[in-house]
């Protein structure tokens, strides 16, 4: 075992109470950052989930649309104009909007209706765990997510409901289709959606454009832009970015999450810095001895940096275990925390950087060591 590594580790665990305090600081910090970033990832996914699951090459959206949940409408004539462009095979209408779901007890709760031509498969529910999404073709059929059973006061498959004073029946249940706004999504047919939301038959929220194989999406988009009025033509990626930008940054939600993560980092850095500083101070005679017996400054820095990295590694390991528990615990909730492998690697790198930055104060202290003190202490 490298002696630098051994010395660093032994210095850390020499005062166990302080080591526990260091780890607590790191774990607190990283768990906080993990949760904030996990929520951010979760929100980011939720914000674009509908867009990502729609079978569209291009989207025709009302001019100035900010996100998928934007309730503006586009005229049906745009659809026919789009279909006149060579290379466009389909322009499927999607109707979205808020409606009131009547609770079995009393009162109502808002839901977000997503309606499309189920035969065309424009925006069908996915992750169906009960029932059959094809049954959406039957009158009054709706599909809801199991996450919102309690919110909607329903027992799920086969349950009756009332939306905007019109009968509905749950024909399928999905798992994990959650809304950023926390308002439950309710999938239904295009006609029912119009009825529930109150959208006129000559209007739709979006038209999902499908292109012929080998068609050049960019060329067709430019053609569509030229002939369509009061609407925009976006690629899926553009619409996703626009939605994310609106929800995460336009509303300040993302900024709040980042601020929480930043706070966690600052707290963690300060705690680790304070601990490394006091640890270095306690071992200052040993560092002075090292200097006296001729060690280079970099050797001593390596010991301190190793202490920082070891703290980071142990702290991250514990934080990761807690993080995974949180992921498990929130998996089926309306607000799941998502951790991806890339995010885990990023968090580990962040932990190491945080701890190494924290070592600066200790290194500055060591730089001031006068090796002559070994003769006086």
């Amino acid at each position: 075992m490298s002696l630098i590594f051994k010395l660093a580790w032994r210095n850390l665990v020499y005062d166990r109470l302080r080591f526990v305090a260091t780890l607590t600081g790191i774990v607190f910090s990283i768990v906080l950052v993990t949760v904030q970033m996990g929520l951010f990832m979760s929100f980011e996914r939720m914000v674009s989930e509908m867009i990502d699951h729609a079978a569209a090459d291009l989207w025709i959206v009302p001019l100035g649309t900010k996100c998928f949940e934007d309730p503006s409408l586009v005229d049906e004539r745009q659809r026919f104009r789009a279909l006149s462009v060579a290379g466009v095979t389909e322009a499927l209408p999607v109707v979205i909007g808020f409606a009131q779901w009547r609770l079995p007890t009393s009162g109502t709760t808002p839901v977000f209706i997503v309606g499309s031509d189920t035969r065309g498969g424009a925006l069908r529910p996915w992750n169906v765990v009960e029932g059959n999404a094809d049954d959406l073709a039957t009158p009054g059929a709706v599909v809801i997510d199991q996450t919102y059973f309690d919110r909607l006061g329903t027992k799920g498959l086969g349950a009756g409901a009332e939306i905007r004073d019109q009968k509905a029946e749950v024909v399928a249940v999905t798992k994990g289709i959650r809304a950023f706004t926390t308002t439950p999504y309710v999938f239904t047919s295009l006609d029912r959606a119009r009825a529930y939301v109150g959208t006129p038959p000559d209007k739709a929220s979006y038209f999902l454009v499908r292109l012929a194989p080998n068609a050049d999406a960019e060329i067709i988009r430019n053609r569509l832009r030229r002939i369509l009025t009061d609407s925009e033509v976006l690629t899926t990626a553009e619409f996703r970015r626009r939605s994310e930008s609106f929800w995460l940054f336009g509303t300040g939600a993302g900024a709040a999450l980042f601020a929480g993560a930043l706070l966690g980092l600052i707290v963690g850095t300060v705690i680790v810095a304070q601990t490394l500083y006091s640890s270095t101070k306690d071992h200052i005679n040993e560092f002075a001895t090292l200097r006296a017996i001729g060690s280079s400054a970099s050797y001593i820095y390596k010991v301190i940096i190793h202490q920082a990295i070891l703290s980071a590694a142990v702290g991250f390991f514990i934080a990761a275990a807690i993080g995974l528990k949180i992921v498990d615990a929130t998996a089926d909730s309306a607000l799941p925390v998502v951790i991806t492998p890339v995010m885990s690697l990023g968090l580990f790198a962040l932990t190491v950087v945080m701890c190494v930055l924290s070592a600066i104060a200790a290194i500055v202290q060591v730089m001031r060591i006068d090796p002559a003190v070994v003769f006086t202490r």
């Binding site: 200097r291 006296a292 017996i293 001729g294 050797y299 070994v374």
Partner: protein, 229 residues
């Protein structure tokens, strides 16, 4: 190792003290020299300057013939780790490392990190009679044993000179004698120059040469009655 007309001023303003006033001294391989003098006479300052831990205000210091004036701190540190072994009054062992690692660290700072370094460290511990304590931690060793570990650390890198600051002052008479015996053996058998700073008259018989310092000046030098037994 040589100091020529070395002067050293410590402190500033009203606290300014001239610790050394033109001291010249050389240490040859194979001799054990003692630097004796009362407290505040400049013994430790001279030792620090010879060991390149302090730089002189004026005068010249040479280590293995190389003048140290104008050298950068990292070059001075390199000169120190390659040519000088230190033994301190308070041992200055690493409490978190066992004996063999405490010795090995002197090699580690030189970049010797292989298994050979471990073997060398064990050999150095055997030289000071501690081959049975290689895995012991400082807190489980007696004062005499700790000082032996410190001696092993000082010699493991095969330096040309060993500088010892009051190596016996924290030890009882028996242990003090044993430590001096080890140092004398190292000087004689390994042909190293050993300079011991002390005001302990009991160890005078081990010295080849006794240098007396007072008030920052060398005031006398005499041949000692060096003995190994």
């Amino acid at each position: 190792m040589q100091a020529i007309d070395v002067a050293k001023t410590l402190g500033r303003g009203a606290g300014r003290v001239q610790a050394l006033k033109g001291v010249s001294l050389s240490l040859a391989g194979g001799e054990l020299a003692m630097l004796m003098g009362p407290s505040g006479s400049g013994k430790t300052t001279l030792l620090s300057i010879l060991g390149c831990i302090l730089s002189p205000t004026s005068g010249t210091v040479r280590v293995c013939g190389q003048p140290t004036a104008g050298m950068k701190p990292e070059d001075i540190a390199k000169l120190r780790r390659e040519n000088v072994g230190f033994i301190f009054q308070s041992y200055h062992l690493f409490p978190t490392l066992n004996a063999v690692d405490n010795v090995r660290i002197a090699l580690d700072v030189r970049g010797e990190i292989s298994q050979t370094a471990v073997a060398k460290a064990k050999e150095a511990l055997a030289t000071v009679g501690l081959s049975h304590k290689v895995k012991s931690f400082p807190l489980s060793l007696s004062g005499g044993e700790q000082q032996r570990v410190a001696i092993a650390r000082a010699i493991v890198g095969n330096p040309s000179a060993i500088l010892a600051d009051e190596p016996t002052s924290a030890l009882d008479s028996e242990n003090g004698q044993a430590i001096m015996k080890v140092l004398a053996q190292i000087a004689k058998q390994q042909a190293r120059g050993v300079l011991v700073v002390s005001h302990d008259p009991r160890i005078v018989p081990f010295a080849d040469r006794i240098i007396r310092i007072e008030d920052g000046r060398i005031v006398g030098e005499e041949t000692g009655g060096a003995r190994l037994n």
